[in-house]
Symmetry: C2
Subunit: 326 residues, 2 copies
């Protein structure tokens, strides 16, 4: 389906057919799954009527929720549109009677099928955030909550999606100036390090680790939730052990601030990317937690590029993904 879609119409169509949505299931793998997490968090915190589940596509297939059915909405994302387990999960959800929205960058891929409400999105540095999965899913949730139960934060959410374009653009310039070289230095010095974050941003803590660093840079690292840090992981902290802290601008910030206070005292090796100093102070702190991941994704891209340049490791080079059989 290549006709340009918008979230209000899509949700209108879903509700017209289904009457009421009781469950939203977010289904994807890797980077696509990461993009769906903030919208999952938004339902969890803000909805009075809807359950939300966030699943790796294969795990969804192997442990399919008994509740999946005619009042469920599956939102399925595959950038290539052909990720086998993601495509299979989309069809499984459809077969169970759910409404299925597929998001893909590839027109004509298996996800772009008349079986689903297929939303083919453009990709690239000039594409507004409202047109890529992170923005689309945020708008889908805002429209769903508005239509089904009323949603006081609807206006501020929709305005913030558009505001994010300018914030991210300025932040890209700032992070390259202030952190790019320093981060490449870190990667030269540390064969392994930790990344900390919380709330919706934890998706990009994970994403920085598994996509930007492990996949695209073969850089060893681990990802730790800032609130969980104090219940085990902090025991490895000492001088010379490096931490990259993604400090959120919204509701979950107190967890990141607590982690920062500890890092300041117990290691000489850390770096902080504070969302508030990178433009997120312009977003209402009541909702900014859902938008911080858009900022951190863009920052992850710049930092991995800086590392790639220093190490002469092309961020698009893969030795296994799409190269060998697995």
């Amino acid at each position: 389906m290549s006709a340009k879609l918008n979230a209000k119409e899509v949700i209108g169509k879903v509700l017209e057919e289904k009457g009421k949505i009781n469950q939203v299931y977010w289904i994807a793998c890797g980077g696509s799954l990461i993009d769906l997490y903030p919208a999952h968090c938004m339902i969890n915190a803000e909805s009075e009527t809807i359950e939300s589940g966030w699943y790796n596509a294969k795990e969804f297939l192997l442990t399919t929720p008994k509740k999946l059915g005619k009042n469920s909405l599956a939102i399925v994302c595959s950038h290539s549109g052909n990720t086998p387990e993601t495509v299979e999960a989309a069809f499984a959800a459809k077969k169970a009677g759910a409404a299925v929205i597929t998001l893909t960058d590839r027109e004509g891929s298996k996800c772009d099928s008349d079986e689903f409400i297929s939303w083919v999105y453009p990709w690239g540095s000039d594409v507004p955030l409202s047109e890529v999965p992170s923005g689309i899913t945020t708008a889908l949730v805002a429209e769903l909550l508005l239509a089904q139960e009323g949603f006081g934060k609807y206006d501020v959410i929709m305005e913030s999606i558009d505001k994010m374009n300018g914030i991210v653009k300025a932040a890209i310039e700032k992070v390259n100036k202030e952190m790019g070289e320093a981060f490449a230095d870190v990667c030269e010095k540390h064969k392994f390090f930790y990344i900390l974050g919380s709330g919706s941003t934890f998706s990009q803590t994970y994403g920085f680790a598994i996509c930007s660093l492990m996949e695209m840079q073969w850089q060893h690292c681990s990802y730790i939730h800032s609130g969980e840090y104090f219940h085990g992981p902090f025991e490895v902290t000492e001088n010379g052990v490096f931490y990259f802290l993604q400090m959120g601008s919204g509701k979950c910030r107190p967890m990141d601030e607590r982690a920062l206070k500890f890092l300041e005292q117990y290691t000489d090796s850390y770096m902080v990317l504070d969302a508030r100093e990178y433009g997120m102070d312009a977003i209402d702190p009541e909702v900014s937690d859902y938008f911080d991941p858009m900022l951190f994704y863009a920052m992850n891209c710049e930092l991995r590029a800086a590392r790639g340049k220093r190490f002469d490791h092309d961020v698009d080079y893969r030795r296994y993904m799409g190269v060998v059989e697995y």
Copy 2:
């Protein structure tokens, strides 16, 4: 409340007061949070009527679900009974009208309060699994599903809890004989490594990393979901990069098998702990996914002890936790 509780009576009491439970929220930090995950997975897959949320206690406080209310059940766990954010979350859930069950090892702690249904559990290597959080939470879910909606797997679940004691006991002997020294060797050779797992077991993949290794052994490592491995993380795999694979016995096993096949081909450094070879073949594969974490927890304890002995690093020694302010 020190009188001996049982899951059937507790759920009976909750349902008598609440009529119906619409949401179960699992709330804790670190090791206690890990123990609650399999029961969360069980509701997600098996329930027709109940939503399940699994939260770090601080994140629960900062992003409290709007749905939390008089038809919610909060199951809150703190081993010490005094973890500040966990205690605060228990009181917040109670204030919102939810039924609150607190699990703690410490009689007289803040979690052991008349405000809650407080379940004080014993701890130690001789305590049956039915009496500690992993078993208690499994039984609570089985009783809740049986009472509220009927549950065809009730009998096999309840029988399996008791069966696990013998399985774990034999597995402890076997793992020490077969893997203890080899794992200590790995830790001498690799300053950092990866742990892989999926499904309910992913809680113990995370737990092996953050509790057994980071907290108790100051061993650097990272934890990767076996299904997600192929969508980014596998690009770091090569000879000399070590992987510890927790291979589950149940529904999610295909993800672990796929990971094993890849490891066999692309690294010379890995170790597999196959639950089926450690006794889990005696549990019905339809439910064994929920019980594998009990096995892996016990295995994690033995392997960390083997490392502790080799490195002369007492597993009970802490430099920060409960020692400094944070």
